[in-house]
């Protein structure tokens, strides 16, 4: 399924962001890449051009800087007036213990993983609403996490940020339905990326960025509401979500 859509990738130098961009480029789509590090962006852009993207633009931005979001959106619009997909791949995996010890740490994690995305999504939603409803195949695709499905002592700050974002997206999906723009929530499990490099890996629960990106690309093309990736997380989380709180609070998860 080739496409000639233009996609914006927030967090374009993340492992899954790169993998998704590759698929998009190989299908013939153009890209606007957003990330903090210019040299990494340039390297990524050269790769994507070679893989078949007709047009790749780079924008350097620190997405924790909310004041610059309107400007950033304007720059994106200047690059293309026909954007089909907005992908959100950026995030951090905070150290839960450090978050417990310091509110500053928690605030940082909530800012990057929830508030920053919420700010950008607000601006994008307002823009999308003013666009013609007939613009085909528009979609906003945001990576949250299975960690946002239920709070656990081992990572509830990250979980709260991603869970908050998941709820935000539910509302946004509802709101943008009449504008014909899909909102896709992506809930990955464990992905083998630099973000998780401190964790001992192994076992069948770990997925590659390429596998996850493939699932996301397909979900975006179909305008799905919500996906787990890999999809075996759906039954796992169904069980986890349904354990009564009286029992759950006693578990060491």
């Amino acid at each position: 399924m080739s496409n000639n859509e233009t996609a914006v990738i927030f967090g374009a130098t993340s492992a899954v962001g790169q993998a998704l961009s590759k698929i998009h480029a190989e299908q013939g789509g153009s890209l606007i890449l957003v990330a903090r590090d210019k040299s990494k962006l340039d390297v990524t852009a050269a790769d994507l051009r070679t893989r078949g993207a007709p047009q790749v633009d780079c924008l350097v931005a620190d997405l924790d800087d909310f004041d610059k979001h309107p400007n950033l959106l304007q720059e994106i619009e200047n690059k293309s007036d026909d954007i089909a997909k907005y992908y959100f791949f950026y995030g951090t995996l905070p150290d839960q213990k450090a978050c417990e010890a310091s509110w500053q740490e928690s605030q940082k994690a909530l800012t990057t993983n929830f508030l920053s995305a919420a700010s950008l999504l607000t601006l994008i939603a307002n823009k999308v609403e003013t666009e013609s409803k007939n613009k085909a195949d528009r979609g906003i695709i945001v990576v949250t996490s299975v960690a946002g499905d239920r709070g656990r002592q081992s990572n509830y700050i990250y979980g709260a940020a991603k869970g908050g974002l998941t709820l935000f997206l539910q509302g946004l999906r509802n709101r943008l339905h009449k504008s014909g723009c899909a909102v896709t929530t992506v809930k990955p499990g464990f992905i083998d990326t630099p973000m998780t490099s401190d964790i001992e890996k192994g076992g069948p629960l770990w997925a590659t960025p390429e596998k996850v990106a493939g699932d996301i690309y397909k979900a975006a093309q179909k305008g799905k509401n919500e996906i787990y990736t890999p999809n075996f997380w759906m039954p796992i989380m169904l069980v986890i979500k349904n354990i009564p709180e009286t029992i759950f609070k006693k578990l060491s998860l």
Binding site: K40, V43, T44, A46, D47, R51, P194, S197, T208
Partner: protein, 445 residues
Amino acid sequence: MKKYRSWAFIPAIKQKAVRPQWLGFELPTNADATKDQTSSLLPYGNGRSYGDSCLNVKGTVVDSRSLNRFIHFDENTGVLKCEAGVTFADILAVIVPKNWFLPVTPGTKFVTVGGAIANDVHGKNHHADGTFGKHVLSFELMRSNGDKLLCSAEKNADYYAATIGGLGLTGFITWAEIQLIKIESPYIKVETTAFHGLDEFYVLSESANKHHRYSVAWIDCASSGKNFARGLFMAGDHVDHTPQGKPTKAVQAEPKLSIPFNFPKLALNRYSIKAFNALYFNKNSVMSSGTSYQHYDSYFYPLDGLGDWNRIYGKQGFYQYQFVVPFSEKATMEKILNKIVESGLGSFLAVLKEFGDVDSPGLLSFPRPGICLALDFANRGEITLKLAKELDALVIKAGGAVYPAKDVRMSSQAFKAYFPKVEEFKEFIDPKFTSDFWKRVNKES
């Protein structure tokens, strides 16, 4: 994640690894590997080396697979520059639609560019085009002291020659620039001819190699008597236009079938292999003889269509034995084939190929003029090892060589006999780099 293993599962080990994400990374060096082996390094590509040349059990491997970006592709000249972890599969996906092709490719496209250089891989066109290293215009070699050497036939030519075929021991290749070849279609015109015996093979090969870019033969290593050394010779060439009615898209971008688990020990035995060989020969000698058109994917990479095919040998793994002996040693080749048939240990994956006289650029390159045979042996422990040792003696005597990329057992004496330039090579080894293969073939015994 998948453990770091070699393709043939021997040895079965646990391997420590680091995985840099961007060029400009630093090698994790904090001690002298010659004194402290736990800090020694070895580049790791896509794990397609069969033996222990891709492992460094006491130290760390530097996994190149996240360094998989294209840097530049000039569609007019066919010069491609990319990071070392890019695989041949990645490259083909980009270049074939633009009518370019790899100058040399081994029988799997799931190798990295770095690995292809480190093993100076060869393909079905060795007689015409030499090894892969021959087509590497330049590369950057990162040494553990932080030096980055730009290597080509002109610049740092000594490191260039040591690194091509250098088994990853001279440093970490960060990127490479290769010269592609022009094609007009993704299809290969294949001419298949059945042969009986080595004499017929030699005649076929000699005449075919004058006219065809590619040639390879499948040979039956299980049958004796009148079926001894029967086989199918396949000559191929790129065609100048896609034959009518053929799809231009790759037929197997991803393996459709995968071996989901290790086969039980008994699945492959003397009788099942014999039966397979007979079936394969009889089917193909009748049905495929003559001319056919094959997509490059099924022509060059028949086994890539079967994901994790190495599992058919079971979890005990297997040995591959690949060697070359000079043309003049036809009697030795005959003797070796006889030995393999007698042993009943040979498998159905046996490939015979003539190497031409195009010089290999690497000090430790394996290909040299002669006839090359590659085949798998199921791991039957001592019996298999004993056979390989006997074959070694014959190959050494004939002035041939065994391929390190496939090896997990050759002795240090054998290695020195096969690779006379090894002393010269040693000067270029990075002091912090080593591999299990290297330690083994340098052990005094």
